[in-house]
């Protein structure tokens, strides 16, 4: 039996970006907060130090900082008619573990969504007519607007010391920034990072073709920085060991660097590591979560932690799994389209583009920041006219290598062998002389892409694995073909010695090659309790003291990396909790 602990004001599940932000905001509002982290303590000074952190094999190939798939994973099938099998080793995506979560080993690409992204279905319907939205596409509006989010984007960017250049300052378009972005209330806290050869060549080529290149907004600090909390960041050294690694310079924003140094000493905050949350105890009558049951992974003992407020800030998968195993809300049924828990699972459609090789250039791929390079947004979202194109959405196109780590990052011209003498010669010749022009596309929700409980496979706690039923749909492939062609045009204008045929992902979703850790949906936000799990304040419709954070609340995924948008949502929700909910605990919205 679980040992019942003394009730606390708030319990926060997951100590990544959203969990650390909510813990900070709630303790500042005077609440006693317990933070639960299934993994171990991670301190940059101890765990991300040189020389050990510069170990590609350990961190990148052996997955040192990621979720342990021996204990928990998800199962996958491409359609309802198939039997799902467990993803036995991580590949396509790399969820985090330990203090800081994936926020400690991300690359740092930090975006704001476009204004139209928040009102996607209404916008597309109004502009192109309801028929323009493909059959089966279950995109929704967020229930919030860009204008609602703007102050919270600003807050998150300042927390993280984002390096970038504004393209729209209070409505004034600025050349050199992203002119398609919504109006910003202030410039980025840090100037853009340096550019490498790839970014510089891409920028010139894109400009010459009439596009609007801008530097990737990045959580790699271009200068030493002190955030409004008083936490300090170092300057990025362009080490090329960013994604999959912790930052030895404290230059990559992470919960470990930007939040925990001020949160951990706060007497109102208690961190409990090695606490693996098993389920939430739900009071169906009161429509509240009474407590959280967790297992201490060191002893196997169970504890029940009652709390006034419960913040679910785990990764997309565990947020959805905990709702399903705790019986909160109605599971989504693709046969009827009814129910909402598990609905609108989306991913990222990456891999459109081409690889360019230059006999007479030195691209030095190993000198790189994680979020780095030059980008155009001219073919993203609804930034271009979709009339007659046969698809909705789009993607951003970029160039600028983020690393030259030699096990994983090598490219050879078409026709080169994979091994042997000829391979060696080609590798020696081309390692330092290539880069990609890449298109990264949105993934719009489809009624057949969803999450539920696996009937066969179990995790280390004996719970069903989360089952992912997912495949790319026609809309993805059409965007892919479109972006590949645009990438090819830009690439060709740079006159490479050799370039690959422009490519895009054509087959079924493949769980093996890394694509992105941008899984979204499952506990989506919205204005209607029959089609969403949380309201516009991220409060669960079925449990008024439960707030769900993170990308699991996105109704669909844009091409942008999710951390910026989910950081803004975390601050927005924290504000609603501290300024509205605490005064009058109960539903903040009525259906």
């Amino acid at each position: 039996m679980a040992t019942t602990l003394k009730e606390v004001d708030a319990v926060v599940i997951g100590m990544g970006w959203t969990g650390s932000i909510l813990s900070r905001e709630l303790t500042k509002a005077g609440l006693n907060v317990v933070g639960l982290e299934r993994g171990a303590m991670r301190s940059p000074r101890e765990d991300f130090a040189i020389p050990s952190i510069r170990d590609e094999l350990k961190y990148s190939n052996r997955h040192e900082l990621f979720q342990d798939t021996a204990l928990e994973t998800v199962s996958l099938r491409h359609s309802r008619s198939e039997t799902a099998l467990p993803i036995r080793r991580l590949g396509s995506f790399l969820p985090g573990n330990n203090l800081g979560g994936a926020g400690s080993h991300w690359n740092g690409a930090t975006w704001r969504r476009l204004e139209t992204d928040y009102v996607l279905r209404s916008h597309l319907t109004e502009k192109y007519g309801a028929k323009a939205i493909p059959e089966g596409m279950t995109i929704q509006d967020f229930g919030v607007t860009y204008a609602d989010m703007e102050p919270y984007y600003d807050k998150f960017e300042k927390l993280c010391g984002i390096s970038g250049k504004a393209g729209n300052l209070k409505g004034q378009k600025i050349d050199g920034g992203n002119i398609f972005e919504g109006p910003r209330s202030s410039e980025y806290p840090n100037k853009p990072l340096a550019r490498n050869l790839a970014a510089s060549m891409f920028e010139t080529a894109a400009k010459n073709l009439g596009y609007h290149p801008f530097p990737q907004p990045s959580a790699n600090a271009s200068e030493a920085y002190t955030n409004p909390e008083g936490a300090t960041m170092g300057q990025c050294v362009y080490c090329g060991f960013c994604e999959r690694f912790g930052c030895e310079s404290n230059a990559k924003a992470s919960p470990n660097v930007n939040v925990f140094p001020v949160l951990l000493p706060d007497p109102k905050f208690t961190l409990r590591t090695h606490t693996y949350v098993k389920n939430l105890v739900y009071d169906r009558q009161a429509k509240k979560v009474k407590s959280v049951v967790y297992v201490d992974t060191r002893t196997g003992e169970e504890y029940e932690q009652p709390a006034g407020i419960v913040i679910l800030g785990a990764y997309v998968f565990n947020n959805t799994l905990l709702m399903l195993v705790s019986g909160i809300g109605t599971p989504y049924d693709p046969a009827t389209g009814k129910g909402s828990v598990g609905k609108n699972y989306c991913y990222q459609y990456t891999g459109s583009g081409t690889t360019l090789f230059f006999e007479d250039k030195e691209t030095n791929p190993f000198m790189a920041a994680g979020a780095f390079g030059s980008i155009i947004d001219d073919f993203n979202g609804d930034n271009f006219d979709h009339s007659g194109l046969g698809f909705v959405g789009g993607g951003h196109i970029s160039a600028g290598l983020s690393n030259g780590r030699p096990i994983g990052t090598r490219a050879l011209p078409p026709g080169a062998p994979r091994w042997g003498k000829e391979w060696k010669g080609a590798t020696a010749k081309w390692y330092n002389r290539w880069f990609n022009v890449d298109g990264t596309a949105c993934d719009y929700a489809h009624r057949e892409n969803y999450l539920d409980l696996d009937p066969t496979y179990k995790d280390a706690l004996g719970r069903p694995l989360l089952r992912m039923t997912y495949n790319f749909k026609d809309n993805n492939y059409k965007i892919g073909a479109f972006l590949a062609q645009k990438c090819g045009e830009i690439a060709k204008s740079m006159n490479p010695t050799v370039m690959t045929e422009p490519r895009y992902r054509k087959g079924d979703y493949d769980s093996r090659p890394y694509q992105s850790t941008h899984n979204t949906g499952g506990t989506i936000m919205g204005s209607d309790p029959s089609t969403s799990v949380v309201n516009r304040y991220l409060q669960a419709w079925d449990a008024s003291n439960l707030f769900i954070m993170g990308a699991s609340t996105f109704p669909q995924n844009q091409s942008y990396n999710p951390t910026g948008p989910l950081g803004a949502l975390a601050y927005w929700s924290a504000n609603a909790i501290t300024t509205q909910y605490l005064k009058n605990p109960g539903p903040l919205m009525h259906a």
Partner: protein, 236 residues
Amino acid sequence: MADVKIPRRDFLKSAGAASAAGAAMATGIAACSPETKTAASPAPEPEIRLTLTQTEWAFISAAVDTLIPADELTPSGTDVGLVVFIDRQLAGAYGNGARLYRQGPFLPAKAELGYQLSLTPREFFRAGIAATNEWTTKTYGKDFDRLSEAEREEALKVLESGKPEFAGFSSAMFFDQLLTITMEGFFADPIYGGNKDKVAWKMIGFPGLPASYREEIKTYFNKKYDKPPQSIADFS
């Protein structure tokens, strides 16, 4: 085709220096420099195998020398420590299934669903090596490591194409795993036993550590960065 005999003890000799590093790891001095060891002990030392059998050691030696042959760019796969690397990897946490979800049922699957066997990497290599030797014996009349250089190259190409029928998994999948672990050893930091003397890093111009380029990102814009590479061991 001439029957070129490659006695196993020749492999043992060439693997001797790398084995010294293996011995050092076994006594807990993981980051010693293999070069100094070689200089200090000119006589070939007996190979120290953590998990590979003698037959498997010979197979892996022949395989890595075919995948990474000696030429003007680098010494051969065995001479840069790849057999030692693979032996250590398969003997350790990775080889024994760390971070691998191992609950059944184990069912045949489309490739896109990823690895679905019940075997750990160690067990998978055991099965793959045995199956390959069985196939080369059927096709060429002998184990893979006894084939001539040209035959080994040909055999690996056939394996890569997935033509030979193996029980339980495809021969192409075994080849892919073999190639993957070989490349890991070739390009990983030398502390793991491969990439001896940072030969692979020198070959491509990867500088290794400390990887601090605050100024260099500007001063080496479109310029070759020709500093000699440094490994984790150089900073330990």
